[in-house]
Symmetry: D3
Subunit: 228 residues, 6 copies
């Protein structure tokens, strides 16, 4: 089973717990909320885009035709990636609307994650592209943002994202897994999920929390027995 | 076809793009989110109301009976207007509850737009009045706000709104169109929508973005042909 | 009829109006939004929990087994209380996930109110525990918070909450009623609701607001007649 | 001795304490910091100015020549007033620079209070006009603000200010006294100052605080003796 | 030489570097700025005070005479401690004025650290008590805060502070050292200062940074020689 | 006279006015305040540095020795440039301390501009390097920031800065002049300063503002005469 398949069964809550135990506390993208309530969990590698603030001589409709445009960035996205966009948390200019999201979906991109917002939100929902963002705003990106490049290290929602880092997104938002940690997370996550499932059953039976979550020696032994 | 009818078919996303091309970048009301997910697009002229911060000697239940009350303001609203309320972005006191919204609806007001919040939100939803706001709070307006007047220039969500400016609101929020620009927007908007519809079809067919959106000469020609 | 039953029929909007008339303007918990859209109104007494910021030597997975843990706090919650948690408004670490919420529900706690967020939000929804909070975040509490104690005065969403104060929560959020005010609110609330119901009917008939809401002498008399 | 003279000897700290005892908790202008460290205490009546957000068709250098300009507002300021400017807390556009402040000073205005900032701050300091503000920014007002009117109720730093309310400003910032409260404050303030002076002496002698500040019956009696 | 003396020669910058190497990244109190520009470095153990938000029935001038008042807290402060006050970052109500600060100074308290503000700031400066805070505000604490207790774990400027933790404050602000880490910091700090002093001399001579700061093997050897 | 010399006599207030007339409203760096009160006006070309948020596996003391370190960036700074650092507005980790600032000064860099803060502020002041920043914090950059590169487009205080754009900084803060606009600003600025100087004299003589600032035809003629 590959990393993709393994991560699909691990919640972002579990991933952040495992990463914290390895010393990584800052991996959750602030402001990236699911645009639709029922989006599935998505796993993929980050393809980064970067905006800086708008400047009236640069952030123009003309810039949309330049070689360093969001359009060119989209055409550079590899199939199966997750687009992660540093919009500096700007919420009054939409980074992409229905047309760009339709093309992103068409290119086989798995999801769009940003600390900014989208525009023409009804249309974006219509494209079927899973999106995590801060919401919607009508104005075009150039009303507040200047696009500068793709494939660079970025900040997104207070998290450092480097090209090819892994991203997992579900109802709790989007989490970054540094490329160097992916094997370990994929390996240890399922066991953590299984343990938490057992604890949940114990709670359902009326067990109290101290000694159960996390389990003490006795409960660990009881749990281990269930696996054999 | 009048302005009202023309604008009904133009998204706020398109309106902000057209206004930006005319040099207006700051026309989208921050914080005015649709209270219900399926509100139709609303078009109308702004009727403004203005609050200042609460002062315990002024912001009292007694003030609700004064000649400069929110009650008097509501009775002054003309049929077909859109009420736009400057609540200074205050989110911990509701500007209106179910009773006031029921009366606003009864007077034939098309919608309520504010950078503040409403109270008794279940009741407000029940009135059928379309509302764009930051959410809900239980406390009455006087817990945080002093009402001062109607029919004045205001700020709402970071946008300057003058009486009789036009407002269009949809899923992307609320956009201000200065009265002097309305004819031009109503005239050029539909063409922009038609062009974007054609681009969307091209994307669906697999076209790539550079040269298509915005269209280069070749694509412009192809598009023009579709119109004949 | 006991206080609990009486308060169940009074909206938080009405409670804040009555408290404001008694000089209490700051009783509404900022940021505590219903986690599900259709949660019933909940009434109960506050059981408080308190977090301070995370410190790497204190906020550890090991701390979950300490005598002053969130686990111990949950086991101390009396049946029928409402858990009110001071998370200092932190939105990037979830105070509780599905396991803790399942146990809270199991202990007969009526609701969870916090100015922070929960994690594993799909699981939390599944427990059936009514929650008012700022949303969801994947990381565990120790990523941003150190738990210190229960049963102490706290701040929650800008409101002072003392153990055994009353809390009412509905679609408009959560409101604090100081223990010393509860009898009076429970007694005067229903009349306020009845009056507002009558006013709503008058508005439905087309009555205008000045003199009606609040009612002048004439309207007061008309209303009083309806009660006999 | 007139109100002006009486208030000159009362600190803003004392004024806020006395107003709080009368039920007014929200009278201190947030963000209005002395521009120079050694500005004297200033007392006067408020002359209000109001800005709304910038709109590119309104907030232009041309607007500086319109009849509703900041220039016209300044010429309408009466001698001895304090100019209080609602800049909506905007800190990236200066409301006035050296030229406007020089003219304000020339007209005999006692001070300028704003929740915004000034520009050309070195020049403004050179005019000798006492200013309370959030600091300095280079851009002109029209980069972020549209001036609309003077002589209206405003919000300034979260406080409601009505024309002709009284304002006192010192090292602790600027405080609003509603016109209706001025006689009482002017009358009771000096006694409060005298009492606090006596308490300060007792503390210097080594007295402990409980029973002294506020004084119990015994200490009240001791203090009263000192006055005879 | 005792811990106090050792720490007096170590900057807060150096202390935070050493703590970070031990895994503690969050030890610097946000918002605690020196009230006077030339305050000396202060070292001491934390005596904590805790406020929650104001509630009109609790936060009253009468509360100043209660057994759980700020006055009683001050009388409980041991000589040589540093008072650390959790004001929840509130900047529109002063926690203490000149009288309370004079008494704190009189009791031999070394310094006052808070994430809030003081009032009667001219008077506070006059007491000679070194203060680190966010600035000044005229209103009394009860305008925005309810005092609850002393000697408890608190949050201050985003940092967890437990009673008897160590605090060091200088021009860069205030830093928390957990009691368990103090010996190590006091021991390793001076060497770090000496090394940085040597690096500074090298920079003055024109050395470039890579290999120097931090030093590579060659430069480490050169530095070690200077110590013999 | 070269551009450098010409700009030295033009205030940032005047530069922003001239740029606004050319359609550029967003050129002032928010948060970049002079570290010392008496810093001279500085003119130079931007050398950009970029940080993203801290990640515990990247933002380490070890990273200070990497080829993409702040140390390497400093060694790449050309003499006479102005270092402009994108710290994403982070105020709880200092980008540079005394050692790095000493080296920057040594390399002939004219000034340091950032939307973040410095550390070891007493030492930084001692280096003589003119700095514009948000203040000071004790923790090292790696406590909150990961350095990624130099020589790239950045955002700084809400302004887009491209390598080799011009920067002017004085008491009002720091202003960006796009490289393409520099000749025009350098040419038209001095005339604007001369005009404002004449207006200031007129105000000193008692002239009123309307018709004077901006000048009407009559005043323009009077001013032109003074030049001959």
């Amino acid at each position: 089973m590959n990393v993709n398949e393994q991560l699909k069964n691990i919640t972002t809550a579990t991933i952040t717990t495992v990463l914290l135990k390895k010393g990584l506390r800052n991996v959750w993208v602030r402001g990236a909320v699911p645009l639709k309530p029922d989006q599935p969990r998505i796993v993929g590698r980050a393809f980064t885009l970067r905006f800086v603030p708008a400047r009236e001589d640069l952030a123009t409709p003309q810039s949309w035709s330049s070689p360093k445009s969001t359009r060119a960035a989209i055409e550079a996205m590899p199939e199966g990636c997750i687009a992660v966009v540093d919009a500096m948390g700007v919420t009054d200019a939409g980074i992409f609307g229905d047309i760009l999201c339709a093309r992103i979906k068409k290119r086989g991109v798995k999801a769009l994650i940003t600390d900014g917002v989208v525009r023409d939100v009804a249309g974006v929902r219509g494209t079927g592209l899973p999106v995590w963002c801060q919401g919607a705003a009508a104005p075009p990106s150039v009303a507040g943002l200047t696009f500068v490049n793709w494939g660079e290290p970025i900040g997104c929602g207070g998290v450092a994202v480097f090209p090819d880092d892994w991203v997992v997104a579900d109802d709790d938002g989007a989490v970054l897994i540094p490329a160097a940690f992916i094997e370990e997370i994929a390996a240890s996550g399922p066991e953590q999920e299984r343990l938490e499932g057992w604890i949940m059953q114990e709670v359902a039976k009326g067990a109290s929390l101290p000694g159960l979550y996390p389990p003490n020696a006795e409960n660990k032994a009881r749990y281990e027995k269930t696996k054999s």
